[in-house]
Amino acid sequence: MHRIGVDVGALWTKVVLMDDAKLAGSAARRSTMNPGPQVKEMIAELTKGLNFQPSEKNCAATGVGRKNIQGTHQLTDIMAFSKGAKAIHPASRIVIDMGGQGVRLIELEPDGSMTNFITNDKCSTGTGCFLDIMAAALGVDPAMMGITSMTAKEPAIINTACTVFAESEVVTLVAKKRPKDEIIAGLNDMVAKRVAAMVGRVTTRGDVFLAGGVAMNIGVVKAIERELKKTLIVPPNPNMVGALGAAVSLGGSGAVGKGGAGKGGGP
């Protein structure tokens, strides 16, 4: 059976197509002011030739803009990311979603049920938006930020956490001819410290699963690993975890890529 999961994020809209427990396709586009028609188009492209009719039974939506996607099953980001993380890496105990406009941490029980979550969507520091703004200030492609930082000898110290003030700091550092890789490494360290502080606030220990578009940035991932002194679980397409979780929430599969485990999932 084919299922669609949609994640209408603040910056990007993601759609995945699942064929039973297998990921059959995915797409991501910049979010627009009018997500309904955009998502309809994305679904049509992914399901071309499948005679797929979107309904509440085979199509689920999450993300800040999910209410615009009518006629679908709806679930919160927290639920979607819990389910997505659990499906990809069943041993996940802490799920961190680093999205475009917010950072969330979810605590999971060994059976995958959610016990607690912390959300920061009041402040843009450490979000995808933050890194996009810094990339623009540096004249670097946002997708290249992670790789670019890897050659840094000594990360620059960024004193202010606020995105607006940090942007001024970056501009000053560029004017002082500080190498870009060192500035980016400094930004990554700052982001990592904030994420580590969030992890420090919870008591759950175990595998930490990193999701969201920011997890595509290798520099940020490595910096968080250094802060936490721990290897993180980062899926190949971390930006798709929410959409995947939405699709999985429709039931009918267990761990992704390991064959269906029957309705309700789990062993």
Partner: protein, 264 residues
């Protein structure tokens, strides 16, 4: 006796020349990249206005974010002390007990006791949401000059709510409101209200007794004054030149220093 005060802010450098207890010269310049160079230009203009030369100045005190960068000053002082001193001078005969000083990158709320000494203060330099940068960033999105924000907002009949705290998110919110065709004046009035809420909370933390003095660049904005008055619930005392209160305080502290040392 002639002294000067230089306030090197993150956004503007302000300079005041004080001649025998009266402000005779003042200048305001965008900070730019070289604080020291800007400070020299500001001092030159303030001296010109006062009709004096640098050799006439007995003592110079610098304050503000970049106070240690300039080599002009004989001494530096924190902006909290300088601002309180400036307020005591500017609002001499009033019963001001609370000061709200909004800068480009920081905001200070200061409470004075009945002897006008600093009793408590709050400072926000961590988050742009409660500073002048909030208005500046959103004015940029709207394509409205910073000096036009106040007058435009007064035309608003129904201010719109800006729900985001973060300046960056508020920027996206304003972009959406513009795209929805919402009137500019209603958006601007909403921006002032959002900032006023933050500032009022700070003022209340240090305590609002008697009169509240409002200075710093945003105090030139009539819309900001109106929104703050509505939020705090008292009429604000706004000086004629709200940008130079801190620099004036630095110049006065310089004069006091000279007097104490027994020089002319």
């Amino acid at each position: 006796m002639i002294t000067a005060g230089i306030d090197l802010g993150s956004t503007y450098v302000k300079c005041v020349v004080l001649v025998d207890g009266a402000v005779k010269g003042h200048a305001v310049y965008p900070t730019g990249h070289d604080h020291d160079a800007t400070a020299r230009i500001a001092l030159r203009d303030a001296m010109k206005m006062a009709g004096i030369e640098q050799k006439d100045i007995g003592y110079i005190v610098s304050t503000g974010y970049g106070r240690r960068v300039t080599t002009l000053a004989n001494e530096t002082i924190s902006e909290i002390s300088a601002n309180a001193e400036g307020t005591r001078f500017v609002a001499k005969n009033l019963s001001v007990r609370t000061i709200l000083d909004i800068g480009g990158q920081d905001t200070k709320a200061i409470a004075l006791d009945d002897k006008l000494n600093i009793d408590a203060f709050q400072m926000n330099d961590k988050c742009a949401a409660g500073t002048g940068r909030f208005i500046e960033a959103l004015a940029g999105v709207l394509g409205v000059g910073i000096d036009d924000m106040g007058p435009l907002s007064l035309k608003s009949k129904a201010p719109l709510k800006i729900t985001s705290t973060c300046t960056v998110f508020a920027r996206s919110e304003v972009v959406t409101l513009i795209a929805e065709g919402k009137p500019k004046e209603d958006i601007i009035a909403g921006i002032h209200e959002a900032l006023a809420k933050r500032l009022a909370a700070m003022a209340k933390k240090v305590g609002v007794k008697k009169e509240v003095f409002f200075d710093g660049g945003p105090a030139r904005n009539v819309g900001m004054i109106k929104a703050l008055e509505a939020e705090i619930g008292v009429k604000l005392v706004v000086p004629e030149r709200p940008q130079i209160v801190t620099a004036t305080g630095a110049a006065i502290l310089a004069a006091k220093k000279l007097e104490k040392s027994g020089m002319k």
